[in-house]
Symmetry: C2
Subunit: 217 residues, 2 copies
């Protein structure tokens, strides 16, 4: 049985992991015979957003603790994750990938990526293990793997696509229900809710991504 | 297109809606051609549980605001929901159903159900519109519809099943990947994570529930 890490960034599209993307990823992985291990860094969230109003609040929350909601309590601190124990890694989207796992939402091409996330992505890529990334998360792959010129999806937002290219990557045009495969770097990406307008459409892309990742693992 | 309400109770299995159950419900509804409207009451949560440790914290959170995380911001206050606009209702599980939508987790058979939830369930039942309930949520159906002797699943926890029967309902034995249909009361229930041990197993039951609910609507 293949063991796949699912890297979370909180719990909610505006300040954490996009919940539909995370759950559909877990379901697709298990339906295709993989075991899963949820992973997150033990750090404060960049901020907390009221998802009813879309406005930031004055609360503080922790990425690992909030991610544990999606994981039903079964989650690993990224510090303790050994690349040797994983056959593949999938990173769902949501602004948490660009605010907590990295600061791409604030700094664009000059983003810094959390050191634990940087380590895991680099080690997976070095070990030729496949990495899947959804929605805005491919921006982190573009940053961490910038010397390898990764080709990834990001949706059709011009500024984001330009930032990917400024980091040395390539932006692949792709529909929400489809995937792009960077064979050289063993990356599979899908735009998900960057452009998707329904959970069905997004799920179709994620299911293709998961099948491809497991085929490559 | 059939329009189905999905009644949420927060965001996280220990103090709100069970996230996998809620997302799989939304996906199954849309894949089967329904439109969905997420619904929650605008009330404080009973408490907030740290999902990493399982321990309550001293935070306060609001059920509508946290449910909006699962709904990606598109959610209605239950006060404004008109039964006439819904063809069916589905209530995912999670402790929120027994701590926020009702106090079944504290009072068992003597539980009170939030007045807005009580109104919606009663009106749906009076209008002969189907109601689906997952996991612990059927306990609310048993309480609100106690004069109609509903037959529902609840999993194999003896105390919970006894409370259902003390309220005048009947406990139907059922596997997590299956459903029970109370034809008279037009209720469809599945144990989900009350007994399910994987997202695949739980999703199988939810997908059957959704198909049945839409067939009845």
């Amino acid at each position: 049985m293949k063991n796949v890490g699912v890297l979370l960034s909180g719990c909610g599209v505006y300040d954490g992991s996009e919940i539909h993307e995370a759950v559909v990823t877990l379901l697709a992985l298990e339906r295709n015979g993989a075991s899963t291990v949820c992973i997150a860094p033990d750090i404060p969230q960049h901020h907390v957003v009221n998802h009813l109003t879309g406005q930031p609040t004055d609360e503080t929350r922790n990425v690992l603790v909030e991610s544990a909601r999606i994981a039903r309590g079964e989650i690993m601190d990224i510090t303790h994750v050994r690349t040797a124990d994983l056959d593949a890694l999938v990173i769902p989207g949501g602004f948490g990938a660009a605010k907590n796992l990295s600061d791409f939402a604030i700094k664009g091409k000059d983003a810094e990526v959390h050191p634990g996330v940087r380590r895991l992505i680099t080690e997976m890529a070095d070990a030729k293990k496949p990495i899947g990334a959804l929605c805005i998360s491919p921006a982190m792959l573009a940053k961490v793997l910038e010397d390898r010129h990764p080709q990834v999806t990001i949706g059709n937002e011009l500024g984001t696509a330009e930032a990917i290219e400024a980091m040395g990557g390539g932006h692949a045009v792709c529909e929400a229900d489809s995937i792009h495969v960077d064979t050289d770097n063993r990356l599979v990406t899908t735009p998900a809710y960057m452009i998707g307008t329904s959970i069905c459409e997004v799920a179709a892309g994620i299911e293709k991504l998961v099948k491809k990742i497991l085929e490559m693992a």
